[in-house]
Symmetry: C2
Subunit: 119 residues, 2 copies
DNA sequence: CCTATAGTTCTATAATCGTGGAATTATGGA
DNA sequence: TCCATAATTCCACGATTATAGAACTATAGG
């Protein structure tokens, strides 16, 4: 399940920002270079950050021509959340009840991350 | 909101185990010494781990006689989950839908953490 | 083949984290 | 007041992590 890797990957302001940005970028994701430009980060530094998020399973990548496209893996996020609620918190009502409220509210607001992603 | 501190606190097998144990121990929590004994960890090492979880807001403490009782803060856990779903994932259906299933299932199973907590 | 572009891997260095021994603080009881 | 117990803070040191320069790999186009 490797949930520690996921927590560890998100426990870094830069990586968390990149991840949020990728979530907002949607399923089509973005090229590594575009992300680097958006965050004004050297390509190699960002590359290692992406690799860490990738190893944690939070994002996926595929090559398209010269570019490598990264996109958030929503299924994996749901999996991590599932771990906290169930395996970790034993589905306790104190956690589940407020969560229900949020989950039912569904796709809504979303505060803006570092920079605005495409589309 | 300090969500990074929470991720960082849980991104450590020992601390995650202690946290899970405290969740299972319920709202009454347990004394630092009892936790240390349960995990066979030196008191000072465990104390720093508890301090980190505490600073992250995931657990709370209060003194009772010579003991200091630690207990999981469920409201805070719900808050962290809320951040991931809303502020981070923008309440995207890909995340919310499977989460709903888990949340509605409510108090159920819970896999066992390192050692069995009291009561 | 040559060159430009897109990313990654290698590497070194600085910074942060984790652990546990020793000293310290707080409480309760004789 | 003195002692035992409960826990924390101080400190040192090994281990891990973060950053970014330089070198390397892969692809597209001429």
């Amino acid at each position: 399940m490797r949930v520690i890797e996921a927590f560890s990957a998100l426990a870094h302001s830069g990586r968390l920002a990149v991840f949020r940005w990728l979530v907002r970028a949607g399923p089509d994701g973005a090229a590594a270079g575009d992300i680097a430009r958006a965050f004004n980060t050297p390509a190699n530094t960002l590359s290692t950050q992406l690799a860490i998020l990738s190893r944690a399973g939070l994002i996926r990548s595929h090559r398209t021509g010269r570019s490598i496209i990264y996109a958030a893996d929503f299924a994996r996020v749901a999996e991590v959340l599932g771990f906290i609620v169930e395996d970790c918190c034993g589905g306790s009502p104190e956690v589940c009840t407020p969560l229900m409220t949020i989950a039912t509210r569904g796709a809504c607001c979303a505060a803006d991350a570092a920079t605005t992603p495409p589309q």
